[in-house]
């Protein structure tokens, strides 16, 4: 674990330390449309996200479909989400811009398998994107961990609740608008 933390900060340091590079203030997009895939506990989700920049905060809303359920079992597994990112590192170097910061998100997913399942999760993690300065295409990445809840109603009309943890590991391609 300590080794992991060490390498994580080493990675962060390598991203933020550009001693020999030409450092410039990053030119950040006003908004982004993101096509992404997200590995989660219940399924692999894929869909679209719209992210808008408000000075010190990025706000995103997303719509995803669970690929295994929707295409593998022909039951639509939809997920709606929203997140806030607080970009702590916004730096540019060698004509490339980079943004990184903590992220707080909420998601709600719905699946009908005879019982109508509702899944909710709250996510705490990080969000980042990088790409050419003023370039339209950016690499987008998010990861997070948080509590997860499943609700459904049984045939006897009682509500079943179960709680656990969920993770999101998202990569995507963003189209940036300046």
């Amino acid at each position: 674990m300590i080794r992991f933390i060490f390498f994580f900060f080493l990675f962060l340091n390598s991203l933020t330390s550009f001693s020999q590079d030409v450092v410039h203030t990053a030119i950040l997009p006003n908004s982004m449309f993101i096509a992404s895939a997200s590995l989660q506990r219940m399924d692999i989700f894929s869909g679209f996200t719209y992210q808008k920049n408000f000075k010190r905060i990025d706000v995103g809303t997303s719509f995803n479909l669970g690929l295994r359920s929707t295409f593998g079992t022909q039951q639509v597994y939809s997920q709606f989400g929203s997140y806030l990112t607080f970009p702590l590192i916004q730096q540019g170097a060698k004509k490339r811009d980079f943004s990184f910061g903590p992220m707080l998100g909420v998601h709600a997913s719905f699946l009908n398998i005879g019982n109508k399942l509702r899944h909710y999760d709250i996510l705490l993690g990080y969000s980042m994107y990088c790409g050419k300065t003023k370039g339209n295409l950016k690499f987008f990445h998010q990861a997070g961990l948080g509590p997860f809840a499943e609700y459904f109603r049984t045939s006897t009309n009682t509500i079943v609740q179960s709680y656990s943890w969920n993770y999101h590991l998202t990569i995507g391609l963003a189209y940036a608008i300046y």
Partner: protein, 263 residues
């Protein structure tokens, strides 16, 4: 041209056919909500997992792994050694029930090890339950006497055994139990399973991996008036393949996936 492309695309979408599910195939949760499944939420064979699995409307039942302690009481646990999944060490067969009652899983929820008693059986009534009987003690490299396992089952004083199916891969246990109970033989080899159906007519069916049996072989067993339960079913594709073989029972590790396809 644009409209033609759209029409072709729409036709391609519509041409995706839904898997035809044989309605007689009963969906059974492996170790309740699935074994080593990330979506199972609770530890396998735990009370929480049992209650959750039985809450799903179309889940006909569950499969549970049964091991006997040193005083002849039955406990639900899958692995040979407690150290792999719980806070304890050793084999259930060599441990006192007082110690086992304090054992819990090394999971987030810390689910307790479940003792198979009338409280659990009360929860399971009206559902089909497969009890996978573990007859081997890996700590002492010894086989547990069949009569002891039978006595432990009889001590449960169950009103009706109609819904309960016992699984074993031990010939002696098969012979001992099949006099009174519904017993399935478990094997990885179809030919061996077929031979068992002829050699032990009192055996009620076969439990076999999805990859080890074809649709024709399932029908051949069913033609002998025996039932077939297919297990090790996880992915949507594997689940569809298993459904298309039309077994009597599908013991799945991804209960939500199987229910989704059946729905």
């Amino acid at each position: 041209m644009r409209y033609i492309n759209f029409l072709v695309f729409a036709m391609c979408l519509c041409s995706c056919t839904k898997t035809i599910i044989d309605k007689k195939t009963n969906i059974i949760g492996h170790a309740a909500m699935g074994l080593n499944s990330s979506s199972s939420i609770y530890a396998d064979n735990s009370m929480e997992a049992i209650q959750l699995a039985l809450s799903f409307t179309k889940c006909k039942g569950i499969e549970l792994d049964v091991q006997m302690d040193n005083l002849g009481q039955l406990w639900l646990y899958h692995d040979e050694n407690l150290s792999t999944k719980t806070n304890a060490d050793g084999c259930i067969n060599t441990i006192d029930p007082d110690v086992l009652s304090t054992v819990f899983y090394k999971t987030i929820h810390h689910e307790k090890l479940v003792k198979l008693d009338h409280h659990v059986l009360e929860l399971l009534k009206d559902k089909t339950v497969f009890f996978d009987l573990r007859h081997f003690n890996s700590c002492t490299n010894s086989i547990i006497e069949s009569s002891k396992i039978k006595n432990a089952i009889l001590a449960l004083e169950v009103d009706s055994l109609e819904n309960y199916i016992f699984i074993t891969s031990n010939y002696e246990l098969l012979e001992t139990l099949s006099e009174q109970f519904k017993v399935f033989y478990s094997t990885d080899n179809y030919e061996q399973g077929l031979q068992i159906m002829f050699d032990y007519p009192e055996c009620d069916g076969l439990v076999i991996r999805n990859v080890s049996i074809t649709a024709d072989e399932v029908h051949a067993i069913q033609a002998l008036n025996k039932e077939v339960a297919i297990f090790e079913v996880r992915s949507p594709k594997g689940t569809k393949i298993a459904f298309n073989k039309a077994p009597d029972y599908l013991i799945t590790d991804e209960l939500r996936t199987a229910l989704s396809i059946a729905h």
